[in-house]
Point group: C2
Chain length 420, copies 2
Amino acid sequence: MDHYDAAFEELNPLPRLLMGPGPINADPRVLRAMSAPILGQFDPQFRAYMVQTMALYREIFQTRNEWTFMIDGTARAGIEAIFVSVIEPGDVVLVPVFGRFGNLKVEIAERCGADVKVIETEWGAVFRPEEIEAALRRHRPKLVAICQGDTSTTMLQPLADIARLCRQYDALLYVDATASLGGNDLPVDAWQIDAVSTGLQKCLAGPPGVSPITVNDRVTAVVRRRRHVERGLLGPGESQGPGTRIASNYFDLAMLMDYWDEKGLNHHTEATTGLYAARECARLLLKEGLEQVFARHALAGRALVAACQAMGLALFGDIAHKMANVTGVYIPEGIDGERVRSALLQDFNIEIGASFGPMRGKVWRIGSMGYCARKDAVLITVQALETVLAAEGFRLLRGTGVDAALAVYREAKGASPVRA
Amino acid sequence: MDHYDAAFEELNPLPRLLMGPGPINADPRVLRAMSAPILGQFDPQFRAYMVQTMALYREIFQTRNEWTFMIDGTARAGIEAIFVSVIEPGDVVLVPVFGRFGNLKVEIAERCGADVKVIETEWGAVFRPEEIEAALRRHRPKLVAICQGDTSTTMLQPLADIARLCRQYDALLYVDATASLGGNDLPVDAWQIDAVSTGLQKCLAGPPGVSPITVNDRVTAVVRRRRHVERGLLGPGESQGPGTRIASNYFDLAMLMDYWDEKGLNHHTEATTGLYAARECARLLLKEGLEQVFARHALAGRALVAACQAMGLALFGDIAHKMANVTGVYIPEGIDGERVRSALLQDFNIEIGASFGPMRGKVWRIGSMGYCARKDAVLITVQALETVLAAEGFRLLRGTGVDAALAVYREAKGASPVRA
């Protein structure tokens, strides 16, 4: 059967358990919400759903930022929307790189015409505030762009001190929380972060395709100066902003603000099902409770770490600074990492992640996030990994991994009311 | 109840019948397909679905273009992806404007740094080939960018002659088929159109959020010259292209081709549910048959036209060049167009469209496309319009509209095997 004939078969994907670095299995309630009837984008009901979605994400971002809304695209669409709207050609942008998604920011900032200054730390480590301060002092950037969590390395960069330093050196701070938001604390206002973007497909338990963002007044002021309304849509008495025109229409935050605003100035046709998904992800997360969701991710992460250690597997990187929701595990010597991943997929329908760059072929990345930050998902994955590793000739005492994971969950059950 | 409290209510949109210019009600089968389990983007099953989706859209675009794939964003994301990847700063771009979406192309091309040349015709008309030829001769553009159908005016621009002229004057031709594809014939290869983009939310019966595009070898050559792979992802022995770097990462067609290609070079995380939707839209359309779907749209459009004329409503624009799937109707003198739209929405759950620009307050736009290009949808809409117009004091003989529409359907049933 060729591709064309196969295309007429009904969709029937195997029920994979997605324990990689994302995307992960979406919460079935989110997928169901996406089946709700389509509404016109200026239907009062739809506008209400938009406003509600903004309110929900303010809670998730722990912010009072008015401009907390959705970019219709995958996570990097949110990054690019903020960059292209904030960065004017020639602006100095400092990117501290501690993994692949730091490199992505370098690349996007360069395409926006930025004078990009890069500092790097080895993969598996995070930056110390002094390193950031030295770069701030030296380069005096307009914008600092950094990941909270870089899935490529599993590391979680502490941000409170960096944010304080950015204020001190009068730089805007953008944080990419795609991999981390929902699984790790990110109090945007308390830490004074200026702009954040994320995606639905990791700790928020949704499908990829929508990027929630939040920007504060400092960013809004920069963006508003560059407001150039589409031809024919400028209101009476209005004039275009004095700043340089934003190089993208689709990602123009000034126009998107007008669209998400009560005035509802026409821009794109909002992705209806995407909005439904974003709203449902946030609604379910907040119903469970932000603290509870953090704790659930922390617990799943601890169980995975305990299991790997019990099995005699070495963990990658600075474990004290690991994201709760993804764990890097060294592929043991003599074991073919891709054969293990393939057996997990073919025999168990379980997906774990490979790695990029300097970690390529050396480290697996095992996720436990969003809908998959569940006890059963962690236990099943650990058991399957034991079985496959044993079959591949890795010496381990069968059952030690899963028992260790179970012990973490049992202990937590006594100690806290967290839903596992 | 404030927005935040309301946000915790379950999604429960009213079952609107969307008979405006789009978005329209998605086919329920498409929404259901979006509930299929999420797959990892490099899962062999998912890669197969991507390849299948490309094959399906080649049929819909009537092309053999290898590069027929999806942009993860709403329809204007597809426009911008093609523009930013093809247009280098200073390139001359000719935009023939016959409605609002012509203006949008001017705006996007300007943001890409193009030297934009605009020719305009009045809203409600289309261009004659001589007008295009005069502009081609005068401006010698690299790219001509035009709508096939501009929903703002309901007009359908004939393209065969224009495409021939573009070859003659060595210009690339980009066609925005967002509003028209699936409801009106667009044989991309037969007409020698170089690039086309569309959206799912009109005649393809899906939700907004994905933009299928196709580009031929002429466009691919331009794009490939500008190939600049992301930092750290350049393969051994590969070098960056000699052309200027594309100003967007998200919309970089060269990188997107590498991602959609068998080599599957990492880029964004494909919007899983969006791909499922795109595949299902195409699969359902082709199962019904391209000719049959055109005929179904033509029939619905004829029924709507007959109904409006029977009710004594004047039609907007050059009817000989109207899209099958949307009909402009003058708001009768003395009738408040917005009161009528509001009554249709509040009392009947039916949405019809208002208009922009010079047509604002003067014309309603009634759609009959995709899943809503159905006999029952047309009849129900016409009946409701009759009722509301009568209540607003418009003099008409009740039932004339719906009887006229029904007569068109009855006549067609005798004449053709088209599913109504």
